[in-house]
């Protein structure tokens, strides 16, 4: 296996990076209180990510086509709270990893490698396809695990709980099919 194929868990455990999941849940819950009050917004990712996709599409499809699109007209790319939150989330992952000394380039995760082999190309192609499907679904559902699952869930929104009730079993079925027979 290449150096980029490994399980992050042993190094993380050795460095003492892992907080108990319950503490993380409390942290995300309390962060939700703070953002609801301070910036009057729930936690969420894909609304802003869709704005970014408009910015990326602009040089390819043409700025006029993007401006004329009915979705991007409502959600134009701008440097706003939501798009900077995306940058912040990446910075948070970077800081946590670097400060714990566990930052490391990973191309193929170990569970994937055991089932599908160490090929980086294969993993990248499927990560791309999976990302595209997940994003399309998140926009159709009007939110992802953050916006629908956590923020919708904690507000007891019907949409959020419907999302969770469909996403989890479909995800489990997908995983069971993908990893059938795998140890």
């Amino acid at each position: 296996m290449s150096a980029e194929t490994f399980d992050r868990a042993p190094a993380r455990a050795a460095a003492g990076v892992d907080w108990t999941p319950y503490l993380i849940g409390v942290g995300i819950g309390v962060l939700s209180w703070i953002v609801f009050v301070v910036v009057n917004a729930p936690l969420g990712i894909t609304t802003s990510l869709a704005q970014v996709s408009g910015g990326v599409a602009s040089p390819i499809l043409g700025a006029d086509a993007v401006a004329a699109n009915s979705y991007w007209a409502k959600n134009p790319l701008k440097l706003d709270y939501g798009t900077l939150f995306l940058v912040g989330t990446m910075i948070g992952g970077l800081l946590s990893a670097v400060m714990a000394g566990v930052w490391r380039i990973e191309a193929v995760p170990s569970i994937w490698a055991k089932r599908f082999g160490p090929s980086q190309t294969k993993r990248f192609v499927w990560a791309f396809i999976g990302g595209a499907i997940a994003m399309y679904g998140a926009r159709l559902a009007n939110g992802c695990t953050s916006g629908n699952g956590i923020s919708g869930g904690l507000q007891l929104a019907l949409g959020g709980w419907t999302f969770l009730a469909v996403m989890f079993p479909v995800g489990a079925l997908t995983a069971a099919i993908m990893f059938r027979g795998a140890k």
């Binding site: 868990a9 849940g25 819950g29 910036v39 709270y81 900077l84 912040g88 595209a132 399309y136 995983a175």
Partner: protein
């Protein structure tokens, strides 16, 4: 004083985003193995984090709204769109191995395939925008229930629902921890 708007809110976006990304990374959900492990029922980190965040976050947010310090931000329950979207999301998330938020934290932590998948997410966003006219005619109008919350729908107070959710969470956690021991 609140809500903070304008330039100050942009600085706060980076701070709150970084707190979120930090928590996701410390919680191990920025790892492909953790996400896929949950859907294979080998690792229960995701469910522990989400249930705890929903109950703790919800109790606080409902109290803050009650006291007039916060407002709800409910998305409309367009049932066909949410159902189809959630199903696609479940498939995509397991193939990708990340959800959008954990993917960003994973990119920060050095996961190259998370970065490649994020490009895929941008393409998925483009596909959605290009199909939006059709989606908004054919799918979104089917089964629209409005910006509904479970207390209104069920005719039960939010405190009752949170107590029930809390009990369910504790039972689930106890079963998980016992099975692991």
């Amino acid at each position: 004083m609140f809500p903070v708007t304008g330039t100050a809110s942009l600085a706060l976006a980076l701070v709150f985003g970084a707190m979120f990304g930090w928590l996701l990374h410390r919680g191990r959900v920025s790892d492909y193995n953790t996400i896929v492990g949950q859907f294979l029922f080998r690792d229960f980190t995701v469910i522990k984090i989400m249930l705890t965040a929903i109950v703790v976050g919800g109790v606080g947010v409902f109290a803050l709204v009650q006291m007039g310090y916060a407002q709800f931000h409910i998305k409309p329950a367009d049932m066909l769109a949410v159902g189809l979207g959630a199903a696609l999301f479940g498939v995509g998330m397991v193939i990708y191995g990340y959800c959008p938020g954990t993917a960003l934290a994973a990119i920060g932590g050095g996961s190259l395939h998370a970065l490649v998948g994020a490009v895929g997410m941008l393409v998925g966003g483009v596909a959605y925008a290009l199909s939006f006219d059709w989606v908004s005619k054919a799918i979104i109008p089917v089964g629209q229930m409005g910006k509904v919350q479970l207390p209104q729908l069920l005719g039960v107070g939010a405190p009752v629902i949170f107590v029930a959710l809390g009990v369910v969470a504790l039972v689930v956690f106890a079963l998980i921890e016992r099975a692991r021991a």
